[in-house]
């Protein structure tokens, strides 16, 4: 298994997104594990501002040279902001997935949803379990 940077202060979905919650606003991106698995990211498609997301629904697409992957909403909520810079610079997802590579900011409908997200240890275990299943 590779080496992944998984920050302690973030919370994670089982679909390899990170979330960062501040005053009811949640920023979402993909994890270091996800960007390493994808390889060179060349295209990102994000939802429109104002769209309502249902937890678990696909809300965008991320494409590397070889693959197309859906982005799944880790929480329900309304899209407040999208990272327009990714249109011109999708490589930010590889270079700085927790910073300039952020995808969207949403306002969450139900703060209790967050309790289902994984912490760092839980997410690392999830990566490991999934890798073991693939063996």
């Amino acid at each position: 298994m590779g080496d992944y940077e998984i920050p302690e202060e973030l919370r994670y979905s089982r679909e390899d997104e990170w979330t960062k919650s501040e005053d009811g606003r949640v920023t979402i991106g993909v994890t270091d594990y996800a960007q390493q698995q994808l390889g060179d990211v060349v295209f990102v498609e994000l939802p429109e501002v104002g769209r309502s997301l249902e937890k678990g629904e696909p809300f965008g697409v991320i494409e590397s040279v070889k693959t197309v992957a859906d982005l799944y909403a880790p929480l329900s909520g309304e899209v407040l902001e999208i990272n327009e810079a990714l249109v011109e610079a999708p490589e930010s997802v590889n270079d700085d997935c927790y910073g300039e590579g952020w995808m969207v900011v949403i306002s969450i409908a139900d703060p209790a949803d967050q309790s289902e997200l994984l912490d760092r240890a839980g997410y690392l275990q999830h990566i490991k379990d999934r890798a073991d299943q693939d063996q």
Partner: protein, 356 residues
Amino acid sequence: MSQLQRTPLHAAHVALGARMVAFAGFDMPVQYSSIKEEHAAVREGTGLFDVSHMGQIHFTGPGSVETVERLLTCKVASLEPGRVRYGLLCNEEGGIVDDVTVYRAADEQLMLCVNAANVEKDYRWCVRHSPEGAEVRNRSAETALLALQGATSAATLGALGATAVAELKRFRFVEAELVGSPALISRTGYTGSDGFEVYLPSGAAVALWEALCAAGARPCGLGARDTLRLEAALPLYGQELDDTTSPLEAGLDRFVKLDAGGFLGCEAIRARREAGHSRQLVGFQMVGRGIGRAGYPISRDGRAVGVVTSGAPSPTLGNSIGLGYVPPALAALGERLDIVIRGRAVEARVAETPFV
């Protein structure tokens, strides 16, 4: 899942941290670090590919030339020893069994290099269409194949003592000694850049791989191989070509001796040409944002007209390119096509190939 086969370099790929994928029944490296960087290494420097999964079928002895002449769409008798040609094996319906390169080592000694996915099929096909007693051997398992590709590949190979290869012309080959092993070196490749393909006994593959890496070649995976061949608009069997494709639909006319005839599939290919083809392979560049990938529909004025066979972002051009089949009436350069990406029609234009 059945057990994947491994090339003699499998352990070397894993040690380098390559991401491995199943391809044509082999566990192969798709990338080591970055497809874009590996792609650039070939366009600007030297990249090294393990393509030992590919197959080699040898024909030796009296009658070999006539046998292969009948099997292949390209001319074989006129091929001088030391030269290589690209050609196709076709079935009686004029469809493509495989696309191959043929090497003539001596008067009655020929080798076909065939696609990994087709080795068994090709071998059976070759045996079936060879006269009784002909010597046809599948030597794929005992043969390793390394592709050294890129602008500076001649110098890289020269650093191993094979200085004569700098003078070698395209589509010619020499037999030489490399890392203490006999090797066949051809100036050929599948990237659109200068380069060499080196055939050698499986047991010598690791030594040659390590020596070439030490000489500055960068390991490259199948991911970069695919973007490189796509920029060069070289077809990939299973995507642009299959058992139903006529070579003429795929734009491979110049590799088909249609006038001379006398090869398997010739009559059917002529008949299909007379009847008129319903589709033609074209290159396209995306105008709108998006990547038109293999399997995506091609439409025009809202009507489905074809399908994408290969598509990817071009690391050299910076925008997305692809190949696909459309009706001949829509195949002219600059013609507007729409690629249907996740249900949305995105503008593309028929573009000149090769793309770079």
